[in-house]
């Protein structure tokens, strides 16, 4: 929309100045129903059945639709529901209960495939006493005789609430599908084909089909702007096909899903799907997707709202950010610092607390630039209990996805991990303190943005590829992800125990009160970074995550280089926490042993304290040990004052305070 055009309109007269007395228009039956429901003080009737006071017609005739149901074959999956409607039909006319049981039992024997247990039928009949099904019920509608029905209410198709309503056209389609399915003598595959064709044709009229690089089909509805993955398990797909009277347990449902998948691949358009945020690097436009299917389009000079699918940018439903009120972009500076990063007690160490805070803010901004970070840093909050690690990550998630967000426990298996990571945009893994054999490899893959491959269930050789584009953050008190290729990709946020504890509820209240300002500030930061695109890559960086290094440079205004260098040193230290050589020198240090030693001597000294790591050290070759020390020279020199004399000898200088004191005392 052009705001200037609107303002030009508003600067001159348009139309007359008289009272606007309405226009002549035909009445809308749907609106009439709304008025009626308001005047009656009741809700408008919905398509689905609802519990109401049962209408009684003692001694009356069965409704034609119920009679039709009595003569129709029913398969497993539909027997219960159909039995409920038939029982309700008998209850309505207060049919003699014994005779009703006989009639329904006969129907069960003749038409149910396979027949239900007699006890179950009685149970269903009792339940039916509490319900009342009207003409809008899908099963009754499928057996409706139309205008010739003497019980047809005058307003049968005039439902007012469109979100759950089935229009005349839809009811007809459901009837058509039901007729095909109840066709006597029809072969199942023919029925499936006909139903799937009707559904596909109708969906084509209402929206478009797409598929992406992972060969998954999607359906985009033009009116709701929802992008739905075509799978049997998808909830949105269940709602879409449910409107046609199809249920997941039925064969025809699976057939229809497979048909839609096939046609999406062959007739649909290939495109790329996004979650939560997208950056068009060439056009320098950022897109932020909200859970109400709207999209905030961010450009360096302005921001404006659109809908999902505008500009051909499609977001997968349920990946949206919780909507917020966007304020003035210049008025919300420092809100993230005040309400999020200042609440975290960062540790002053190799990297200072202030540097950690700046890096944390850069990482937060990076969450909105997935396209710029094909390799993503793993944000690791490491610290003792009570240091607010989980809270920090939870708050980041809440800023994005609202109060329902929470941190996730590490899944039991690597396969589960793949699924969670493949379907998330931001994942906060809490308490990653147990050693899992698969964890380090999976984390390394996630950081490099690869694909997770799995065998498709119930197949021998079909594989599924799950692209990983997820930002992962972890918390740990005793980290077990110290493998060097993982620690190279860590963005370590060391935290120390909080001095005083504020109730989480209070922190949440404060966070949500400031959320609009924080998000507005973030939008301003995104616009600022967009103006700097394409980001200049640093000429050389010690950091393996050079994508993040380039981003952090832009996000922190050039202050990142020194911080990242310190981070690299910290990464090395982190990777050596569990190293056998480190443990051996720590042992020597604890035993107050210094001076010149051969590797073999060190081994025999350390073996006095047999631990798993010491045993590992004892089994290492001299070359490997010297190589480890040489490669991490700076680290060892700093912590233990270890110097390599020759290929077999090292000097260990006792440095720690305890030994120095003891020496003085001696």
């Amino acid at each position: 929309m052009d705001i200037d055009k609107l303002k030009t309109f508003a600067s001159q007269l348009r139309g007359d100045l008289k009272y606007d007395s309405g226009i002549k228009t035909s009445k809308s039956t749907a609106l009439c129903m709304v008025v009626k429901s308001v005047l009656d003080g009741s809700e408008p009737t919905m398509a689905t059945s609802k519990k109401t006071k049962k209408i009684r017609r003692p001694g009356g005739k069965l409704k034609p639709c119920v009679e039709n149901l009595l003569n129709r074959d029913v398969e497993k999956g539909n027997r219960n529901n159909t039995c409920m409607r038939i029982s309700d039909g008998f209850a309505e006319i207060e049919y003699d209960s014994d005779s009703a049981v006989d009639a329904i039992s006969e129907w069960n024997t003749r038409h149910c495939k396979p027949p239900m247990d007699a006890e179950e039928v009685i149970k269903i009949m009792k339940s039916a006493a509490a319900t009342d099904y009207g003409c809008n019920d899908l099963i009754l509608a499928s057996a409706c005789v139309g205008d010739s029905c003497p019980f047809k209410p005058k307003t049968r198709s005039n439902n007012s609430d469109s979100s759950t309503v089935h229009s005349d056209k839809n009811v007809k389609m459901v009837e058509q599908i039901a007729n095909i399915r109840s066709k006597k003598g029809g072969r199942q595959h023919e029925i499936n084909f006909d139903v799937a064709k009707i559904v596909y044709d109708d969906l084509c009229n209402k929206g478009k089909f797409y598929w992406d690089a992972s060969k998954t089909g999607y359906y985009f509805c033009d009116s709701t702007r929802l992008l739905t993955k075509i799978t049997r398990d998808d909830e949105e797909m269940f709602m879409t096909l449910g409107a046609y009277g199809l249920r997941p347990r039925e064969d025809v449902y699976q057939y229809t899903i497979e048909t839609l998948q096939y046609l999406a691949r062959h007739e649909g358009t290939k495109t790329k799907m996004y979650r939560t945020c997208h950056i068009d690097v060439e056009k320098k436009i950022g897109y932020m997707y909200f859970s109400d299917n709207t999209v905030l389009k961010i450009e360096s000079s302005r921001t404006h709202y659109g809908l999902n699918g505008d500009d051909g940018v499609l977001f997968i439903s349920k990946s949206g950010i919780e909507p917020f009120t966007l304020g003035s972009l210049n008025d919300s500076k420092g809100a993230f610092k005040k309400h999020v990063s200042d609440k975290i007690n960062f540790l002053d160490d190799i990297v200072s607390a202030e540097e950690r805070r700046l890096l944390f803010e850069a990482w937060w901004k990076s969450l909105f630039f997935e396209e710029l970070l094909p390799s993503k840093p793993l944000a690791a909050f490491v610290g003792e209990k009570g240091s607010g690690k989980s809270m920090a990550l939870r708050h980041v998630g809440m800023l994005l996805y609202g109060p329902e967000f929470n941190v996730t426990q590490i899944p039991r298996s690597g396969d589960d991990f793949d699924v969670i990571v493949g379907s998330s945009y931001y994942l906060a893994l809490d308490n990653v303190d147990t050693a899992n054999v698969w964890l380090e490899s999976k984390l390394a893959v996630c950081a490099t943005g690869g694909k997770a491959q799995r065998r498709k269930l119930y197949t021998d050789s079909t594989t599924i590829e799950i692209p990983i584009r997820c930002f992962i953050a972890l918390t740990s008190a005793r980290p077990h992800f110290t493998r060097d290729d993982v620690s190279d990709r860590l963005l370590l946020f060391k935290v120390s125990r909080l001095k005083s504890f504020v109730p989480e509820s209070l922190l949440r209240t404060e966070l949500f009160a400031a959320r609009d300002r924080i998000m507005t500030e973030t939008v301003a930061a995104i616009a600022d970074i967009l103006a700097k695109l394409p980001l200049p890559l640093p000429e050389s960086t010690l950091m393996r995550m050079s994508d993040f290094a380039a981003f952090a440079e832009a996000a922190t205004g050039g202050a990142a280089a020194r911080m990242l260098e310190s981070t690299v040193h910290e990464q090395v230290e982190f990777s050596l926490i569990d190293d056998p050589v480190t443990r051996a020198f720590e042992t020597m240090s604890m035993m107050n042993i210094g001076g010149k030693h051969t590797i073999d001597q060190i081994k025999s000294i350390c073996m006095q304290r047999r631990t798993e790591k010491i045993l590992q050290f004892a089994m290492m070759t001299t070359d490997d040990i010297i190589k480890t020390i040489t490669l991490n020279k700076r680290y060892f020199a700093k912590r233990f004052k270890v110097e390599v004399i020759n290929k077999n000898e090292v000097t260990i200088t006792r440095e720690n305070k305890r030994s120095a004191t003891e020496e003085t005392e001696t």
């Binding site: 508003a10 309405g22 228009t25």
Partner: protein, 185 residues
Amino acid sequence: MKLVHPQFHYVELAIGGVNKRGNIVTLIEAVAPVDTIDCFTTMFRFDKKFVAYVKDTGSVAGYAGPCWCDWLWYDIDAPILDEAVLTLAKLVKRIESIDSKLPNVLRTYFSGAKGFHCGIPIAAFGGNLKPSGGFAQTMRLIAKKIAHGIKYDDIYSTTRLWRMPNTINGKTGLRKVLISLEDVL
């Protein structure tokens, strides 16, 4: 067009601000002078009882007698215009989902500041609505039911003043003008 419920032809006219109240006129007289700033009439129109009430009490405050309106208005306001456009789009979509023909009969005004006034003709609601003392409350309930969670300002009080089309909004200097949905969506 023939006026529905012609006996309800009185409105309150406020020229120059919402505090300039108490001037009861007929619909024919309710014309804003060209280029006047902040002109309002009551959103609802009234019958003689209203005139008598104002004569007795000297004010429209507290009037709860019968009234009528030809439009069900929605007042969509937001801190920034883009957001208001978005809400308007949602409302139009919602109305369209109720009845696909309805968007053609909607009347939408840019308020001259940061919002829109969008009206559904009462004629579309059929003959069930009648002038009454609770008409404003009925409008409130119908509006809520139609909007289905979409945000709008609650303007459904009997004596609510409503900015007249083509008059100038004092805050911005822009007019409240009729626009087509294609202009904004």
